[in-house]
Structure formats: C-alpha cells, structure tokens
Amino acid sequence: MTRTTARNGARSSTRTIVLRAIMLTVLALAATFALDPFRNYQLAVVAATFCATAGLTLLVGLTGQLSLGHGVLMAAGGYGYALVAGPAADAGLGGVGRFALGIAGALVLSAVVGGLLGLAGARLRGPYLAGLTLALVIALPAVATQVPGLGKDQGLGVPFEAVPAPLAGVMVVEQWHAWIAIVVAAVAVTPLVVLRSGPAGLRMRATHGDEVAARLAGISPARVKVTAFVASSVSAGLGGAVLAVVAQNVGPGRYSLAFSLLLLVAVVVGGLGSVGGAAVGAALVVLLPWLVDTVVSGAGMPADLEQRLSGNLAVAVFGALLVAVTVAWPGGLAGATAGPRARLARRRRPAPAPVLDPDTDPAQEPTSDPQPLTER
C-alpha cells in the first residue's frame, strides 16, 4: 500500500464516517422528542458514558493498553469544565461562550492527564499500566480532598445550562441536556472513528500485534501509544464535562473504582475495538443497574435485603458478564456480528493489501482484522 492510496482511501472513508455520524446525530436528536424527561436524562448519561467507552475501546482494543482508571480521565474533564465554567459564570459570562470555555478547560485538563498517563503507558507493559491506573482511581478521592480548589468530597458546582430562549417553548431542560450530550458525543467520537479507520489506526494495530515488527516498519510504538492515550483521554474528558453539566456538579464520589470497572465491562461486552459495541455497552452499564434496582424495589422484599441488593446485584451481573464474555465469547457483541459482515465485505471488495497486523491472537481476530473495521 503506497502512501498516496492510503491517504485517498482514508479521505473517502472519512467523508462516509462524517456523513454517517451526522445522520446518527440528527436521528438521536429527533428521538429525544419521543422520550419523557427522565428517559432524556438517561440518554444524556448514556451519551456521556459513550464518550468514555469509545475512547477506552480504542485504547484497549487497538493498542492493547488496559486502563482501569478511565473514570479518572472523565473526572479530569469534569473538573476542567467546572474550573473554567465556574469562574466564567461568576464573571457574568453565559450561554455558548461559557460552555465553549468550559469544554476547552475539559479538553486541556483531560489531555494533560491522559498525556502523562500515556507517557507512563509507553514505558510500561500490561499489568504495570493496569496497576498504575488502578492506583490512580483509588487515589482520586485523596487528590480531590488534598488539592486546594477542587472542593473536597463534595466536589465543585457547575453552572446550570438553561434551555436557550428560542427553544424554550419546545423542550424542557432534560431534553436540552440530552441534546448537548448527543452533540458533544458526536464531536468526541467521530474523530476517534476517523483515527481508527485511517493510518493511525493501522499503526496502533501494528504496535499491538508485534511491537518489534512495528518498529522495524518505521513506527514509533511510544508515539503511537501516547497518541492513543491522549485521544482516548480527550474523548473521556468530554464525556466527563457532559456529566458535570447534566449533574451540575463534579466530585470524586461518582468516579469510584466501580465506575471505572463498569466502563471496562461496557467495552468488553460490546467487543474490544468496536465503537458500535462501545455505544451498546454504554447503554448497558447505565440502564441495567437502573433496571435491576427498579425490579428489586418493585418485588416487595424486606427493606434490609432490598438495600443490600441495590447496587450489588447489578455489579454481580456485570462481573459475571465480564468473565463469561472473555472466556466464552471473546469478540463481544461486535465479534458476534463481525463474521457475517466481514464475509459480506470481502464479497463486495477486492482483497485488501497485506497489512502489518499479524494474526497473533486468535481471540482478538474479529476485532484486529482491518477490513471489517473500515466497513463498520
């Protein structure tokens, strides 16, 4: 594959990806009219979670770096937003300007934290990186209480984003927040999809497949890993900013270890490396706990048992899912649908040029085959 054809291929598929993203976004925005306020609130949380899971699936699925602390990156985004939007609101700034400044703050802070983690990740292998990110999640409450200006345990308040005047007649605030979340998710995830289907994605898969071979082919694994970490972190940070806006608060309580592990469940169940799978996974981890709690509270159990089951039961289900999917069904949801799709794609197109990605791991095969990824 020469450089120019690779570029041309990337450009045409970029247009397809952007068009598809716009279509999906418009569809999702339209769908909010069919939902009641609580459903719209849930949709906003799903969209925010999707930002993080999309980044995480890229990181884990393509570069093989296991992050157990993606919640921290979301928190970085949330704090970044609050630290900028809060003073902006105090200065009398409002509307789009304040929101844009806040988002910029989220971008900067999450990119910095992600970049630092990425630099560490470039030097560390599997379990070491996972352990470092785990230590980071455990230390987050301490960071929030010890670093001045982060509002201790309660966290920081985030200025309320009201429905803008022209739309005030047609929607309530929950729907407006869902709109914000959907648009931000589209803006956060589309570049990730473009990145993945382009040469950068190929370099990530090459680095994951065989670092030495990738190095011989002129790829710098360290740079690839840092890029992946920053991209993934920025996306997660945008998700954190959205959560901060929706909840009007950002604090360490929301970003516990359990939350970070849920993000991992989402990407594993959805299928490592698959952005569509990450969307399904995000919906799953937001909606299933709520569903379980609703069922448990409706079953009329004794209050003590109900209190113990709430929260725990959903986590048990997620843990079992995580084990079952990894052992029995390694491709996740995306893997289950990838086989027929790949066959279809091969029939439609001539065989792809040989790529750097060796078939190292049969378990990863459905996600590490570049052909269905560009087709998805």
């Binding site: 599997g126 455990i138 843990g319």
Partner: protein, 292 residues
C-alpha cells in the same frame, strides 16, 4: 524522636503485612505470569470464613487455619475452574477475568453481609510496649512481625530448598523444558495459585484487626499498596517484595504521622509513578526479555 521510633516500628509491622500480600502476587506471577487483580476479593472471602470459624469455636488458631485452607481452595477453584479456560496468548484476558471475579465476589459479599464493617478484636493487645521510655511496637504488631517473618522464611525454604520448590521454579521459568523433564507443569501452576491465595488470606486476616473491620472492600487499599510493592521490587522478585513492603509501610506510617492520613494514598501513588518511570520493570527486575 520517640515519635519517629514509634512510627517507623509501626510502619515495619504494617509493611510486613503489605509485603506478605505482595509476596502472594509475586508467587502467582512467577507461577502463571498473571497479576491476579482478584487476589484481594478472594482473600476477603477467606477471612469471612475465618470469622465464621472464630465465632463458632472461639479459637484464633482454628480461624487462621480456616483462612489458609479456604484461601488455598479458592485458589484451586479459580485456577482450575476459571483461569485455565481463559485464552492465554496475551495477559489481558486473564486480567479482565480477574476483574470480573472481583466484581462478582465483592457484590455477593455485599449482598450476603451488607456494607457494615465487622470489627475483630486482635488476639494480642494493641497498646504499645516500651523499651526504656520509648514506645515501640504493640504486642499485636510483634505478633504480625513474627508471623510474617515465619511465612517469608518458610516460603524461602520451600522455594529454594525443596524438590517441590525446584519444580515450581522450573515450571514457571521454562515450562516446556520442565514438561520434558517430567515436571507436571499444570499442577505446579495450580499449587502456585493455592499457595498465593493462602498467603494473601493470611495477610488480610492479619490486617483486619488494625483497620476499621471486615467488609467486602476492606482489602482494596491493601491490594493497591501490595501492587505498588510488587512493582517496586519487580513482580519476579520475592526479596524485592519484602524490601518494598517495608519501604511502603514505613512511608505510609511516616506520612500519616507527620502530615495527614489523607496524603498517604498520594505518597504511594507518587512513589509508584516515580519507580515505574525510572525503572519500568521494578527495582529488582531481571534483565530477561519478556513480553509481559
């Protein structure tokens, strides 16, 4: 000065518990090339059993035995029932399965026993003993110290002086060659898991009386500290785990004593980050090329 002596000696006792837990991570890493993120949850299950034994019989010795046996059986069950079925080309699926196991175990414990911390009164007094006028270790700390040292020395003898230890080491370092020479490698991996979870259960059982009490999450922080220690020493090095445990224990004790308890997690995180950035494979890392 008195305060320094007290803090350092308390730190040594805490550090030995962390070192024990880190040692369990090292054993499992050497046997199966996996960092068992489920170690803390498994150990807490074993300690719940020890609590039940203690409540039923009133004997601390039986409780310790209960924890050890349950830990070993859990290790056996997890290795044979779960880890053996994990696709093993890269370390990631194993880590993910271990995390799934943590979620299942902790949530089930939460359902069964609720969020309450169950206090455990230590077998020995926690008030410090005096050497001259200087307060040093409490009786319980001394007990922890002795138990930890006995276990460490015992494991050292087992690994370096016995046939089983030789087979364990051989199976971990060169599985193919060992198999050719008649070592039953899968059995050695299982024994590694059993040893490791039994040691982890003992470490948590020693820790619980010095903390708030027993709860599904009471070993989470210990796991992070032990992981830090295992990384400090390099996951391959038992001696490194011991030294690292003492360093981290004393560091936590000093930071808690002189600054504030809230700063201790940050100090550990800072130490972990520094070591990983300066020596990514740990301080005592061997030069052998490895993929994980």
């Amino acid at each position: 000065m008195d305060r320094l002596v007290l803090l350092v000696s308390t730190g040594v006792a805490r550090g030995l518990v962390i070192a024990l837990f880190a040692l369990s991570l090292v054993i499992i890493w050497r046997a199966a090339r996996i960092v068992n993120f489920g170690q803390a949850a498994m150990a807490v299950v074993a300690v719940y059993v020890a609590f039940a034994v203690h409540a039923a019989t009133g004997s601390y010795v039986l409780a310790v035995l209960g924890a050890l046996v349950t830990g070993a059986l859990l290790g056996l069950a997890v290795e044979r029932g779960l880890m053996r079925r994990v696709p093993g080309a890269t370390p990631m699926p194993g880590m993910i399965v271990a995390i799934g196991l943590v979620m299942v175990l902790q949530s089930l414990l939460g359902v069964l026993f609720g969020p309450r911390h169950r206090p455990m009164s230590p077998v020995f007094s926690q008030s410090p003993l005096y050497v001259g006028d200087v307060p040093v270790l409490s009786r319980y700390d001394l007990f922890v110290l002795v138990v930890a040292l006995v276990v460490v020395v015992g494991l050292g003898l087992l690994f370096n002086r016995s046939t089983l230890g030789l087979q364990l080491r051989a199976a971990a370092v060169a599985p193919e060659v060992s198999r050719l020479l008649g070592v039953r490698v899968p059995r050695m991996v299982t024994i590694g898991w059993m040893l490791s979870s039994a040691v982890a259960a003992l470490a948590v059982l020693l820790l619980v009386p010095t903390e708030l009490g027993l709860n599904a999450h009471s070993a989470d922080v210990l796991f992070v500290h032990a992981f830090t220690v295992a990384v400090l020493g390099g996951l391959d090095s038992p001696a490194g785990a011991l030294v690292g445990g003492l360093v981290v224990g004393v560091l936590i004790s000093l930071v808690t004593g002189y600054a504030s308890a809230g700063l201790a997690p940050l100090a550990v995180l800072g130490l972990l980050t520094t070591v990983l950035l300066v020596r990514p494979g740990g301080i005592f890392a061997t030069k052998e090329a490895r993929t994980a």
